[in-house]
C-alpha cells in the first residue's frame, strides 16, 4: 500500500460498477437458494438484470480524466469504463446465447450464474487495477471462477479434464506472474503501477532484474492470451469445456486480458518498451503462423476456433508491439471486434446444439444454407470477418494492426501477417463451403428462443455494419487510450 506523499483516498464512486456487481452476485446466490427448481429462470433474469445494470453503471460513472481511489490501487478512466462496459455486454450476451444449452445439460443453475458474475468481477478488477497485487487478485478471481465453471459439468470426463488442465497450467502462469512482479518490486521498490513507471523512467534501477521480471510478466500475459508457445491449454480447454463455457472463456476474458496487458506493459513498464517489443514480436509471429497452420487440420469446430483464437491473438499483439497510441488502439479495436466475432461463432455452435447433441464437428455445419439461409448468412459474415475480408469488421481490425506495424517500420512483419491470414482464409472458407455448397446431413429443425435469435442476428449484423462504418469504434479506441496514457 502506498503511503507518504500520496494521500490515501477512499472514494467509492469510481468502483460503483464493481460494488454493484458484487452485491448483485451475492443476492443472486442467496435468492437462488430459496427458489424452487421450476423458478430457476428467475435467477437467470436477475443475473441478466445485475449484469446489464453493471454495464449501465460503467457508463454512468464515465470518467473523462482518470480517477484514483482506495489509496491509488484502483484506477477508473475512459479505457476502464469502455472495457468494463463491453465485458458486461459480452457476458450478458453469453448468458443469453447459452440459456437453452445450459438448460438442456443441467447447468442452468444458480452456481453457474454466480460463477459467471464473479468471473466478470475479476475481469473488471483486472481492467481497473492500478496496483500489482490488485491485478493479481483480479486475475485469480477470474481464473478460479473459470476453472470451476468448466468443471461444473461433473458427469463429463472431458470437461473435468479440461478444467484440470486449465487449472494446473493457469496456476503455473499465476506463479510466473507473481515471480515477475516480485522481481519488479525488487528493482523498483514499489508495487504501484504508476510509481513503477516513474521509478523506471527516472533511471538508476537495476535493469537486469527489471528485465528478468519483465520476461516472467510477459510470459504470464502470453499464457492468458494463449499466444504461442504458451497456447497448449487453449485448444484442449475450448474443446473439452461445455460450449457455453467455451464461449465465456473465449470472449469477455480477452477484453480483460487486454486491459491487464495495457496496465502492466503501458502503464508501468512503458520505459521498457524496447525490451517487451522484442518478446511480443516473437510471440506474435509464432502465434500467427502456428495458429493458422494448425487450425487447417482440425475437424472439431471448437478446436478450430481455438487455433483461430491463437492466431488472432498474434495479430492483436502485432498492433500492441508498435508501442504507441496508434498501435495500442489498433490492438484494442482488434480485441473488441474479435470478441464480437467470437460471440457469433460460438453462439452459432450453441444454436445448432440441442439436448443430447453437440454441434461441435465441422460437418454439423453442412448445408446450413438450406436449413436456414439467415443463420448461414450470419455465420458467413463471421467467417469472412475472421478471415479479414471486407466489408466485414475483421478487415479493419487486420488493417489497423498492419498499419500500426508498417508505421513503425515492420513491413516484413506485415507481409508475414498477411501470408498467415492467407493460410487462415482456407479454413474459414471451408466453413462457408460446408454451409453453402454441401447438402445437409442433419434435418432437425433449428429451434432457438426468440430473444437469442434477435440478439444473435443483431450481433452478426453488427459485424457487417461496423465493417461499413468502423470510424466510431476506431475513434473511440483512440480516445480511450489517449485519455488514459
Amino acid at each position: 500500500m502506498t503511503t507518504g506523499a500520496l494521500p490515501v483516498n477512499f472514494d467509492f464512486v469510481p468502483a460503483l460498477p464493481e460494488i454493484a456487481l458484487l452485491v448483485g452476485a451475492c443476492v443472486v446466490l442467496l435468492v437462488d437458494l430459496v427458489l424452487p427448481e421450476t423458478r430457476r429462470s428467475w435467477s437467470y433474469w436477475l443475473t441478466q438484470l445485475v449484469v446489464v445494470s453493471t454495464a449501465w453503471l460503467s457508463l454512468y460513472v464515465f470518467h473523462e480524466a482518470p480517477a484514483h481511489t482506495f489509496g491509488n490501487t484502483f484506477i477508473a478512466d475512459t479505457l476502464a469504463d469502455v472495457l468494463k462496459f463491453l465485458s458486461c455486454v459480452t457476458v450478458a450476451l453469453t448468458l443469453a446465447y447459452s440459456r437453452s444449452y445450459l438448460a438442456a445439460r443441467g447447468l442452468f443453475r444458480g452456481e453457474t450464474f454466480a460463477l459467471m458474475m464473479f468471473a466478470l468481477l475479476g475481469m473488471m478488477v483486472m481492467i481497473s487495477a492500478n496496483h500489482f497485487l490488485l491485478l493479481y487478485l483480479g486475475l485469480e478471481l477470474m481464473s478460479l471462477s473459470l476453472y470451476a465453471m468448466i468443471a461444473l459439468q461433473r458427469d463429463s470426463g472431458q470437461a473435468v479434464e479440461a478444467a484440470m488442465k486449465y487449472f494446473v497450467l493457469g496456476a503455473l502462469a499465476s506463479g510466473l506472474l507473481l515471480y515477475g512482479m516480485s522481481m519488479i518490486y525488487g528493482a523498483t521498490g514499489t508495487l504501484d503501477v504508476a510509481r513503477v513507471a516513474t521509478t523506471v523512467f527516472a533511471g538508476g534501477v537495476n535493469k537486469t532484474m527489471l528485465a528478468f521480471g519483465l520476461v516472467f510478466v510477459v510470459s504470464a500475459i502470453a499464457f492468458k492470451l494463449g499466444a504461442v508457445p504458451y497456447h497448449m491449454w487453449l485448444p484442449d480447454v475450448y474443446e473439452g469445456a461445455p460450449t457455453a463455457m467455451t464461449l465465456f472463456v473465449g470472449s469477455a476474458p480477452k477484453l480483460a486480458a487486454f486491459g491487464f496487458m495495457t496496465r502492466l506493459l503501458v502503464g508501468s513498464l512503458a520505459a521498457m518498451a524496447f525490451d517487451w517489443q522484442g518478446m511480443l514480436l516473437i510471440l506474435s509471429l509464432l502465434s500467427m503462423i502456428a495458429g493458422n497452420v494448425i487450425a487447417i487440420s482440425q475437424t472439431n469446430i471448437k478446436r478450430m476456433l481455438a487455433y483461430s483464437t491463437i492466431a488472432n491473438m498474434g495479430y492483436m499483439l502485432m498492433g500492441f508491439l508498435a508501442a504507441n497510441i496508434n498501435g495500442y488502439s489498433a490492438a484494442m479495436f482488434y480485441t473488441i471486434t474479435y470478441v464480437m466475432t467470437t460471440l457469433v461463432s460460438f453462439g452459432m455452435v450453441l444454436l445448432l446444439s440441442r439436448a443430447g447433441f453437440e454441434a461441435d464437428q465441422l460437418d454439423d455445419f453442412k448445408g446450413l444454407n438450406q436449413r436456414s439461409p439467415w443463420y448461414a448468412f450470419l455465420m458467413l459474415l463471421t467467417m469472412f470477418s475472421l478471415a479479414g475480408i471486407p466489408p466485414t469488421v475483421g478487415f479493419y481490425a487486420k488493417f489497423a494492426v498492419i498499419e500500426a506495424a508498417v508505421d513503425v517500420g515492420l513491413v516484413w512483419l506485415a507481409v508475414v501477417a498477411v501470408m498467415a491470414s492467407l493460410i487462415g482464409a482456407f479454413y474459414y472458407l471451408r466453413i462457408v463451403k460446408l454451409m453453402y455448397f454441401d447438402d445437409p446431413v442433419d434435418d432437425a429443425p433449428l429451434e432457438a428462443r426468440s430473444d437469442t435469435r434477435v440478439l444473435l442476428s443483431i450481433n452478426g449484423l453488427a459485424l457487417l455494419l461496423l465493417g461499413i462504418f468502423p470510424q466510431w469504434l476506431l475513434g473511440m479506441c483512440v480516445v480511450a487510450l489517449t485519455r488514459s496514457y
Partner: protein, 491 residues
C-alpha cells in the same frame, strides 16, 4: 446533379438485397423480375455518366467526396476519368444480360443467384469508381465473396475445388497489395488518395518492392501467365452467368489496376520491368494460344483464349505509347463483349445437351441455323476479324508493338493466326459437318430470349468494330495524362 456514381454502385446492391428478401424458390418469378428491374435501373443510372462526360480533359469527373474513416484519413472518394468510365458502363450493361441469361436456366435458389450478381455488379462499379485506396480495396476484396458463392453453389461437379482455388489465388495477391497501400499511406504522410500517390516520390528500390506487391495482385486477376491456372478451373465450373462476369468484368479489374496504380504510381519500376511484363504477355499470347488449340472442352478453350487476349492488354500497356495503352483499353472493352457472347453461346448449347465437350457436337448448324449465324459472328470477333470489335484493339496494339520494336509486333501478330485457328477450328467441329448424334438432331433453335440476348451483343460487337470512335474519344485525354505520369521519373 445526382450522385450518379454512388447510384451506379448502390442501386444494384440495394436491389440485390431486396431480391434476397424473396428467399423462396416458390416466388422465383418475383425474384427474377425484381432482379431485372434492379439491373436495368443500375444500367440506366450509368447512362448519364456517358452523356454528361466532358471530353478533352483528364480530370476526374462526377467526383464525390465524403469523409468516411477519419482515423485513417480514408474517404468515400469516387470519380471517373476516360479510362474507368467505359468499364462502369460495360459492367452495368453486362449485368443486365447476365440476369436475363439466368432467367429460366437457374431453378435452384433463384433469389440468391440473382442477388449475388447484382451485388457483384455494384461492387465492380465501386472498384472502377473508387479514388481512395481503402475504398478500392474494400470493393476489390468484397467482389470475391459473391463470386465464390456463385461458383460454389451453382457450379459444375468440381465446383468446390474451383471456388476455393479462385478465392485463395486472388487473395494472395490482394493481401500483398493491402500492405503496399498501407506502406504508401505511411510514406505519403497519411493519405489514401490514389491521385495524391501519383505525385509521391519513391526510390527505385521501394518502387520495385511495391511493384511486386501490386503486380502479384493484378497479374493474378488479369490473369497473366504463369499465375493463370485458377481461371480455366473457375470458368469450367462456374455457371454461364458466372463465366460471363468473370471473363467480361473481373479480369478487367486486374488490367485496370495496372493503369490506375502500377503505371502512374511506379513509373520507374514499370520502365525497369517493362521487358519482363512484355515477355510474360507474349508468352500468354502465344503459348496460351497453343494451349487453347488443344482443348476438348469449349469453356476451357474460351478461358484460355481469354488469357491470350488479356495478354494483349498488358502488352499494350507496357509499351508506354498512346496507341498501345488505348489499344489495350479497347481490347478490354471488346473482350468484355466478345467473351460474354462466347460464354453465352456455350451456355446455350450446355443448357440443351449438358455437355461442353467439343466431341459431343457436330452439325449444330443444321438444327440451329439462327444460333449458328450469331455464333459465327462472335467466333470471328474472337479471332479478330476486321469489322468486329475484336480487330480494333488487337490492331492498335500490334501497331504500337511494331513501332516499338519490329519483332515485338511480329510475335504479337502470331495471335491473329492462332486466334483464328483455335476459334474457327472449334466452330468447325461444333457447328459444321453432318449431324453427329440424335441428341444434336433434336436440338431446338434459340428461344426468343436467347436470340435477343445474343443479338444485342452482336449489334454492339459490330458497332464497335465499324465505328470505335465513341469509345476511343472518351479515353483519349486520360491516356495522354497517364502517359505523362509514366514518362515523369519519381526518383
Amino acid at each position: 446533379m445526382l450522385p450518379y456514381l454512388s447510384l451506379a454502385i448502390w442501386v444494384p446492391i440495394v436491389a440485390g438485397l431486396l431480391v434476397l428478401a424473396v428467399n423462396r424458390d416458390a416466388d422465383a418469378a418475383a425474384a427474377r423480375w425484381l432482379a431485372l428491374v434492379g439491373a436495368v435501373a443500375g444500367f440506366a443510372v450509368t447512362i448519364p455518366l456517358y452523356v454528361h462526360f466532358t471530353l478533352g480533359t483528364a480530370e476526374m469527373q462526377f467526383v464525390e467526396a465524403v469523409e468516411w474513416i477519419p482515423r485513417f484519413n480514408v474517404n468515400y472518394l469516387l470519380g471517373v476519368d476516360g479510362i474507368s468510365l467505359l468499364f462502369v458502363l460495360l459492367n452495368s450493361f453486362v449485368t443486365v444480360l447476365v440476369v436475363w441469361a439466368g432467367w429460366v436456366v437457374i431453378e435452384k435458389r433463384v433469389s440468391q443467384y440473382m442477388a449475388a450478381f447484382l451485388i457483384m455488379s455494384g461492387l465492380i462499379n465501386g472498384v472502377f469508381a473508387a479514388l481512395d485506396g481503402v475504398l478500392f480495396y474494400v470493393f476489390f476484396e468484397a467482389m470475391l465473396i459473391p463470386m465464390y458463392l456463385i461458383i460454389g453453389i451453382w457450379g459444375g461437379p468440381n465446383r468446390v475445388y474451383a471456388a476455393i482455388k479462385f478465392f485463395l489465388y486472388t487473395l494472395l495477391g490482394s493481401f500483398l497489395m493491402l500492405v503496399a497501400f498501407i506502406y504508401l499511406y505511411s510514406v505519403s504522410g497519411g493519405s489514401f488518395s490514389i491521385l495524391e500517390w501519383y505525385q509521391l516520390p519513391l526510390s527505385l528500390k521501394t518502387q520495385l518492392l511495391l511493384f511486386v506487391a501490386f503486380f502479384l495482385s493484378f497479374a493474378v486477376k488479369v490473369p497473366m501467365w504463369p499465375v493463370h491456372t485458377w481461371l480455366p478451373d473457375a470458368h469450367v465450373e462456374a455457371p454461364t452467368g458466372g463465366s460471363v462476369v468473370l471473363a467480361a468484368l473481373t479480369l478487367k479489374v486486374g488490367a485496370y489496376g495496372f493503369v490506375r496504380f502500377v503505371l502512374p504510381i511506379l513509373p520507374d519500376a514499370s520502365h525497369y520491368l517493362a521487358n519482363f511484363v512484355i515477355t510474360l504477355s507474349l508468352i500468354a499470347v502465344i503459348y496460351i494460344g497453343f494451349v487453347a488449340l488443344v482443348q476438348a472442352d469449349m469453356k476451357k478453350l474460351i478461358a484460355y483464349s481469354s488469357i491470350s487476349h488479356m495478354g494483349f492488354v498488358t502488352l499494350g500497356f507496357f509499351l508506354f505509347s498512346e496507341l498501345g495503352v488505348e489499344g489495350g483499353l479497347v481490347q478490354m472493352i471488346s473482350h468484355g463483349f466478345v467473351s460474354a457472347a462466347m460464354f453465352l453461346c456455350v451456355g446455350v448449347l450446355y443448357d440443351r445437351m449438358h455437355s461442353r465437350q467439343i466431341a459431343d457436337y457436330g452439325g449444330v448448324v443444321n438444327t440451329m441455323p439462327r444460333f449458328a449465324a450469331l455464333a459465327m459472328l462472335f467466333a470471328m470477333a474472337n479471332a479478330g476479324l476486321p469489322g468486329t470489335s475484336g480487330f480494333v484493339g488487337e490492331f492498335m496494339v500490334i501497331l504500337a508493338a511494331v513501332k516499338a520494336k519490329f519483332w515485338l509486333g511480329f510475335l504479337a501478330a502470331i495471335t491473329l493466326i492462332l486466334g483464328a485457328a483455335y476459334t474457327l477450328w472449334m466452330y468447325k467441329r461444333v457447328w459444321f459437318g453432318a449431324v453427329v448424334s440424335e441428341r444434336v438432331a433434336a436440338l431446338k433453335d434459340l428461344s426468343r430470349r436467347e436470340f435477343w440476348l445474343l443479338a444485342t451483343l452482336a449489334a454492339v460487337v459490330l458497332f464497335m468494330g465499324v465505328y470505335p470512335k465513341p469509345f476511343t474519344d472518351v479515353m483519349h485525354a486520360s491516356v495522354t495524362e497517364l502517359l505523362a505520369h509514366v514518362a515523369k521519373s519519381k526518383l
